[in-house]
């Protein structure tokens, strides 16, 4: 009897590929948290429990203020996650999100610093500028892949470094604030507005970037699942030969996919730096947000809504980690824990395959593995 119930439940899960995948993602998160907790126990057994609770629930600790900051931290990661996930669905691995983000950030800040005459439209134009810069940067890798068969991973890694050095050079030449050795601050008219969010989340840094992220998540969800364009992108991603057979223009789809992917990363860059108190610096470092996006795309199983949830979860951890300093933990412990969770999220593919294989044997369910998560 009990076996039948378990069997039934398994069957139901197995029947819904999405829920299997979600299950494995959650398993990855839990495993990551457990490892994080063990590390905390080793480092500081006394404070491990309250410290761990802080990581998980810190975003609630100061009410709406900390919840707002969770969203603020989450937004760029949601966007880079979407960027990577979108390319995944076309069978492309966009490791260049960081370069596209850098180009987007610089362009947005440049417009933010110089084009004050735009008035009320200033921030919109700045974001659009960032988007276009990211799109152009992404399209280079797409064009190289489509017409010269250069693997996108190779070209985007190189483009990342080009973007990084160009950023340094352009900051110093065009928008340098010598006194602080960083880029000048965007004018207040270029700051991403906060609208009523300031009243809901008083004291937090959250801005309407969160609405942009929600809007783009829904938009991508619709594109991928309801449109002819999404049908083509997924065909190309799942089986390029069949897409060719069906007369789809694989080259065009590859270029478009990388362009859109780059645009998303560009928007992330714009949103990150069109705020008060954060500045571009000529430091020759690749921006981590682009790489975090890869992990978030994995964790979110390349589905826009999954990526959104995973990105906000990341924001919560980051925010929780911020309060961790109240206890006797080195601030680096937060990075370690987040890194461990991200590391385990990469395992979600492995776990997913394992769970799927197990269920297939048990109930014979054919399980859809998200092609996007297949990193070769």
């Amino acid at each position: 009897m009990r076996r039948r119930i378990v069997q039934g439940a398994l069957e139901r899960v197995a029947n819904r590929p999405a829920s299997i995948s979600a299950f494995s993602s959650i398993l990855a998160i839990v495993s990551g948290l457990v490892v994080g907790f063990v590390i905390m126990l080793i480092v500081n057994p006394g404070d491990a429990v309250p410290g761990f609770l802080t990581i998980l629930f810190g975003w609630l600790s100061e009410g709406s203020r900390s919840a707002g900051d969770m969203l603020y931290f989450g937004v760029p990661i949601v966007l880079t996650g979407l960027s990577v996930a979108f390319a995944f669905r076309t069978g492309l691995f966009n490791i260049g999100a960081t370069g596209q983000l850098t180009m987007g950030a610089f362009t947005a800040v440049y417009i933010g610093v110089n084009w004050g005459f735009l008035g009320a439209f200033h921030w919109i134009v700045a974001v659009l500028g960032g988007m276009i810069a990211g799109a152009v940067w992404g399209s280079i890798a797409g064009l190289l892949k489509a017409f010269r068969n250069v693997h996108e991973v190779v070209s985007s890694i190189m483009l990342n470094y080009i973007a990084m050095y160009m950023n340094t050079m352009l900051i110093i030449q065009l928008i340098y604030n010598r006194q602080y050795a960083r880029a000048r601050s965007p004018l207040p008219s270029a700051h991403i507005p906060t609208w009523f969010l300031r009243d809901i989340f008083p004291g937090s840094s959250v801005n309407i970037g969160i609405f942009i992220a929600i809007g783009l998540t829904i938009l991508l969800h619709i594109i991928l699942n309801r449109t002819v364009f999404g049908y083509e992108l997924k065909s190309v991603g799942f089986n390029r030969d069949a897409a060719k057979y069906a007369g789809m223009n694989a080259k065009r789809n590859i270029v478009l996919s990388m362009t859109i992917s780059g645009a998303l990363a560009g928007i992330a860059g714009a949103i990150m730096f069109l705020v008060a108190g954060r500045h571009l610096e000529p430091v020759n470092q690749l921006m981590q947000e682009g790489f975090t996006g890869i992990a978030i795309a994995l964790l979110g199983l390349s589905a826009p809504i999954g990526v959104f949830l995973a990105g906000i979860f990341y924001g919560a951890l980051e925010q929780g980690g911020y309060y961790l300093q109240l206890y006797d933990f080195m601030p680096e412990i937060i990075d370690i824990i987040i890194a461990v969770i991200i590391y385990f999220s990469a395992f979600s593919l492995f776990i997913q395959t394992y769970v799927a294989g197990y269920l297939r044997r048990k109930v014979g369910a054919e399980v859809e593995l998200q092609q996007g998560t297949e990193l070769k």
Partner: protein, 508 residues
């Protein structure tokens, strides 16, 4: 009589379908036992249960009279059960020897030792007459040889019970001949063999007994020598099957397709795999390109539909020059294409059946409006094709193509391409992997297309199909057309001579 395998009352249910419903299968020592059934009857599932890939919901398995539980392929290996899957599981850039010993390597202090292995392989291949070059790399040897490697792999692991799932589906007639000999040798040496095949002649040639399944249910086990092809087919389909293809004489009309001096270059080297091929296909006729696999037929079709670049020549449909046109434009100008490799070109395996059924027409305003997919139209279309072409699967339109049985995948593609009503139907090996009932049905459909005034270009490796279906035959050898024949007057022998390159003559 002692049985080596006794499967009793095996039931395996997938969500939405009972793939095996109380099936019995008893295998005697040293016999070749055929397993016959329609597409989707549950043959592969039953063998996957025996090989430990699926756990049955009910039923018992006995090996040498002892009840066993087979949890995974390792258990099966330990019980002496080996399986050759329809799609081989070999590492392409490894040598034959490396593939055979993979997972069963001999080592000393962590270093691989090949000497014992090489001796054992040599021994096995002599004993069972399985000729292969042990140092050849897999990707450089033919499909028939790869299959021998798979067989050696089983023997190397001391398998006594050998399962073959549709081993002849991708072999040339010559290779099939060879395989039949190998099977007989194996049986004589005391191995017990289960053979899944849709080809009744193969069963008549080698099998001792035959178990028949229909829609997941056990129907009967018969002595092959006392059963005719017609009886086998009737048991399997549940009605009489017409083997002879009935068709009225062709009434060719105006020319639909003109191919002039076509040359198609190899993707890998600088040679032409198709050389100066010219022919015409008219309305109301079935033109067949016959030949032994690998003589340029595949490349000819790729060149024709736009999947491979032409190095020379012209292609015209109703006089319109399509030489420079894209695959999409050729398709829209009236070419339907049933591709040779259904899993590579024909289907997106991770899409649902209904998505696959619009693969060549998703952009049509029937299935989309302003770029948004019209889900209800897609569903209606799928339901009508599923009904018309009897495409069986577990979840109807929503079944993942990957979960469908091989024959039903093929029916889905056939339905999709015939339904488009194009002027020219290009069908490459349209009945590969289909059961006799389905073959009869597909042949009828192709003839009906012809009688509706469509032009049909058929590529087939099966002589029966070539002789029965076509109105005109072109033989291709070494990338060139070497003869044109009327199926009414030519003999299979004569065709064979041209196909093997022993004779040739000019083609008008």
């Amino acid at each position: 009589m002692e049985y080596v395998i006794e499967m009793e009352n095996i039931t395996k249910e997938f969500p939405g379908i009972k793939a095996n419903d109380q099936v019995d299968l008893k295998l005697k020592k040293g016999e070749i036992h055929a397993l016959l059934g329609e597409n989707g009857a549950g043959k592969s599932t039953l063998m996957s249960v025996l090989f430990g890939l699926y756990t049955p919901d009910a039923g018992t398995i006995k090996v040498h009279g002892k009840k066993v539980t087979i949890r995974n392929p390792n258990d099966a290996n330990n019980l002496g059960i080996g399986m050759v899957h329809q799609h081989f599981k070999l590492v392409h850039n490894f040598t034959v020897t490396e593939n055979i010993i993979l997972g069963h390597e001999d080592t000393t202090k962590g270093f691989l030792r090949y000497d014992n292995a090489a001796a054992k392989i040599k021994n096995l291949s002599e004993r069972y007459k399985l000729k292969v070059d042990p140092s050849a790399i897999i990707e450089n040897i033919s499909v028939g040889q790869q299959q021998r490697v798979e067989i050696l792999k089983m023997l190397y692991r001391d398998a006594e019970i050998l399962i073959f799932d549709e081993p002849t589906a991708s072999l040339t007639p010559q290779e099939i001949e060879e395989l039949m000999k190998i099977l007989r040798n194996l049986a004589e040496e005391g191995k017990s063999i289960i053979l899944i095949t849709h080809k009744l002649t193969e069963i008549q040639q080698v099998a001792d007994r035959c178990t028949i399944l229909r829609k997941g249910k056990y129907i009967d086990t018969v002595e092959v020598s006392r059963t005719s092809n017609e009886e086998l087919a009737e048991k399997m389909v549940g009605r009489k099957v017409v083997f002879d293809i009935e068709k009225a004489p062709a009434q060719p009309g105006e020319t639909v397709l003109t191919v002039e001096d076509l040359c198609v270059r190899s993707q890998h080297s600088n040679t032409d795999l198709v050389r100066n091929v010219s022919f015409k296909v008219k309305r109301g006729e079935i033109l067949c390109v016959a030949g032994i696999e690998g003589n340029g037929q595949s490349e000819l079709i790729y060149g024709l539909v736009g999947l491979a670049p032409l190095s020379k020549g012209r292609i015209l449909i109703h006089g319109n020059d399509l030489t420079q046109a894209s695959t999409r434009d050729r398709s829209l100008s009236g070419i339907s294409h049933i591709p040779e490799d259904r899993q590579r070109h024909g289907l997106v395996l991770d899409f649902s059946l209904e998505y696959n059924l619009i693969l060549n027409s998703y952009f049509d305003t029937t299935y989309q409006r302003r770029g948004f997919l019209n889900f209800s139209a897609i569903r209606t279309h799928a339901e009508s094709l599923i009904e018309q072409y009897d495409i069986r699967s577990s979840h109807g339109p929503l079944s993942l193509a990957r979960s469908m049985s091989g024959g039903n995948q093929q029916k889905a593609i056939l339905g999709r391409e015939i339904d488009r009503g194009s002027e020219l139907l290009v069908a490459v090996q349209p009945t590969r992997g289909l059961d006799v009932g389905a073959i009869e049905f597909i042949h009828k459909q192709i003839i009906a297309e012809r009688d509706r005034g469509k032009a049909v270009l058929l590529v087939s490796l099966e002589l029966d199909e070539v002789m029965g279906l076509s109105d005109r035959i072109l033989v291709m050898y070494g990338g060139e057309l070497v003869g044109e024949f009327d199926p009414e007057t030519v003999t299979e022998n004569e065709l064979g001579l041209y196909m093997s390159g022993a004779r040739k003559r000019g083609v008008a």
